[in-house]
């Protein structure tokens, strides 16, 4: 391993360190907006990392992943609405509900494959969207404002922006580590094996359905965590959190960053959201640029950012 300090490794180290040091930079420049933007990026990166586990490694093309953002978010929002503010209740409920939904959705969807799988996950997400939009008690279409963020014990205060940023960052790094461990475990090998050739995996004797379902549930739980964070970040939840275009955004992050690389989705999330922020500063019609840009990435830069960095190493 003479070239362990490749362009890719270097980029990853720089990225991870830069995210840790960002609040310090914000402290010096006083640019509070940057902190808010990057908190959001980190939260959505966590969702993208979870999607990457099933999409990039498992080959399960879920087009309804944002549903867990909504479930995690609404768990926090509904409990807060009912006067339960303790994070020790809210967060476990958010994770458990996400797990439950992922279990049901996965158990039904994983019976299908290919385009059918894309469509059925999409349909389940839309179903959840309409259910939530119909809940008049919790704001329905208009969404639900959260007046108090999740409460934990004394020194932890989610309303402190810097502290909240570091909590999100720590959870993101922990999730990346978790996904990395999963991918490199025996379990992860089975998952990746069934992406390449499921029939063969079954022939060797692996019950691939159970493996894939477990993986699907883990990804759902991680995304539910991201939803709980997002609800705390925006102090607001609405059905739009799980609209299908949000699921599309998550897929874009994963593909932009490079599928099947543990850290890729973080690059992707930063790139998409910073791009959105920059373009919307230039013109009101920024999507007219983003759309074709996306198209070009699909047509010509299939490996995403991670793929480009990988090429630099070989050059």
């Amino acid at each position: 391993m003479s070239d362990w300090l490749s362009a890719r490794t270097l980029a990853v180290i720089v990225l991870l360190a830069a995210l840790v040091l960002l609040p310090v930079y914000v402290e010096f420049t006083g640019n509070r907006f940057l902190l808010t933007l990057f908190t959001r990026i980190i939260i959505l990166a966590l969702a993208a990392v979870s999607l990457n586990l099933i999409l990039g490694f498992g080959g399960m093309m879920s087009f309804g992943h944002a549903v867990y953002l909504g479930i995690g978010g609404y768990s926090v929002g509904m409990l807060a609405h009912e006067g339960i503010y303790s994070g020790f209740v809210q967060w476990p409920v958010a994770l458990a509900m996400s797990a439950l939904f992922a279990l049901v959705i996965g158990a039904l969807s994983l019976r299908t494959r290919g385009v059918y799988f894309i469509m059925i996950t999409l349909a389940f997400a839309q179903m959840a969207y309409y259910v939530v939009a119909g809940l008049a008690r919790y704001g329905g279409d208009d969404g639900l404002t959260i007046y108090k963020r999740s409460q934990f014990f004394e020194p932890i205060n989610l309303s402190n922006k810097t502290q909240f940023y570091y909590i999100c960052l720590a959870l993101l790094y922990a999730s990346i580590y978790l996904v990395w461990r999963i991918v490199n475990s025996r379990f992860g090998m089975v998952i990746q094996g069934s992406r390449s050739n499921e029939t063969r995996m079954r022939a060797i004797g692996f019950p691939t359905f159970r493996y894939k379902l477990t993986c699907f549930v883990i990804a759902g739980i991680l995304c539910g965590l991201s939803g709980a964070l997002l609800a705390n970040h925006t102090d607001f939840v609405s059905p739009a959190m799980m609209y299908w275009t949000r699921s599309g955004d998550l897929i874009i992050m994963v593909v932009l960053g490079g599928m099947g690389s543990v850290i890729g989705p973080v690059f992707g999330a930063i790139m998409l959201l910073v791009l959105e922020e920059t373009l919307s500063g230039i013109t009101e019609y920024w999507q007219i640029i983003l759309g074709p840009l996306l198209l070009l990435v699909v047509l010509f830069a299939r490996g995403g950012i991670d793929g480009l960095l990988g090429k630099v190493r070989h050059a």
């Binding site: 593909v255 007219i288 983003l290 759309g291």
Partner: protein, 305 residues
């Protein structure tokens, strides 16, 4: 009873409309193996074209004809510029690329027509109720939608099953290399099929335009339903799309109309009125889940894909 018949006709009309969208989707998927999320954008473009051209020419029919031609051209251009490069790629690529196209089309429409919606006024001869059964009146326009859609469905069936082009389309669906090897210009065939699908979507959009407002994002809402239909019917099967579209249209419309009342019999009025809207919009997704659990390939699977 009158209400029930009227709602059944509404369901049929909605189902036929959905069929036009789903037919294009399933045709493109069956033949080119292409997932096109931007199909809803063509539906939107059809509606915008119709509203604009009828306002220009002052004639509803002329505007509609021009809009149809316009959507056909947009669809064929889309195929030549973008879609052609996506054949044979991963489905994920299709999803992403066409997602990008949706953003592009939505924003272009906003740039040209502005964020406010348009409306397409009906000519007076279509804007009156007609008596369909003794004592039962129904909107002449909705009735004409039913007639036109049925004619299109029959025409599509004849085109695919009885003409040379249709034969090539079916041959291309089962083995594209072989059709190409036999000297058929497969590229042109694909462009035509895609254009046909686009025109069908445009037709659905422009027919729906006088009933709803013409607005940005109108395609995104309905395209999900069209996908549900193609999945229920079996991807690639036009017959399946037809059956599933009628099913979904009728169930959705009747569900919205009568489900709240049914629920009120079981639940307390307060609980029923909160649960009903959510549950009735869930119905078709529930239907899809049930179909996929029982028959993971849809009702009328087009065979090995």
């Amino acid at each position: 009873m009158t209400l029930f018949i009227e709602q059944c006709l509404n369901g049929l009309q909605f189902g036929l409309l959905l069929f036009m969208l789903a037919a294009g989707l399933t045709l493109v998927f069956g033949i080119m193996d292409l997932v096109n999320l931007a199909h809803g954008s063509l539906y939107m473009i059809g509606a915008y074209f119709a509203a604009t051209f009828s306002a220009w020419t002052g004639s509803f029919l002329l505007g509609v004809a021009m809009a149809l031609a316009g959507t056909l051209v947009v669809g064929m251009a889309m195929e030549v510029i973008v879609m052609r490069r996506l054949y044979g790629r991963d489905h994920l690529d299709h999803v992403l690329a066409t997602f990008g196209l949706i953003l592009f089309f939505d924003e272009t429409v906003r740039l040209i027509w502005g964020p406010a919606g348009l409306s397409l006024p009906l000519p007076s001869w279509l804007n009156a109720p007609v008596q369909i059964l003794p004592g039962i009146y129904y909107s002449a326009y909705k009735l004409s939608i039913i007639i036109v859609s049925l004619a299109v469905a029959v025409g599509l069936y004849l085109l695919v099953m009885r003409t040379r082009i249709g034969m090539l389309i079916r041959a291309g669906a089962s083995n594209r290399e072989m059709v190409g090897a036999l000297g058929v210009n497969i590229k042109l065939l694909y462009t035509l099929v895609f254009g046909l699908g686009a025109a069908l979507a445009g037709l659905a959009g422009l027919m729906q335009a006088p009933i709803l407002t013409v607005q940005i994002g109108m395609g995104e809402i309905i395209i999900i339903l069209a996908f549900v239909i193609t999945v229920i019917g079996g991807i690639g099967s036009i017959r399946g799309a037809f059956v599933a579209a009628i099913f979904v249209g009728v169930i959705d419309t009747l569900g919205r109309a009568f489900f709240p009342d049914l629920l009120r019999m079981v639940l307390s009025p307060a609980a029923a009125s909160t649960a009903a809207p959510a549950l009735s919009s869930m119905l078709i997704y529930l239907l899809m889940a049930i179909v996929l659990v029982l028959k993971p390939e849809g009702l009328f699977s087009a065979g090995n894909k």
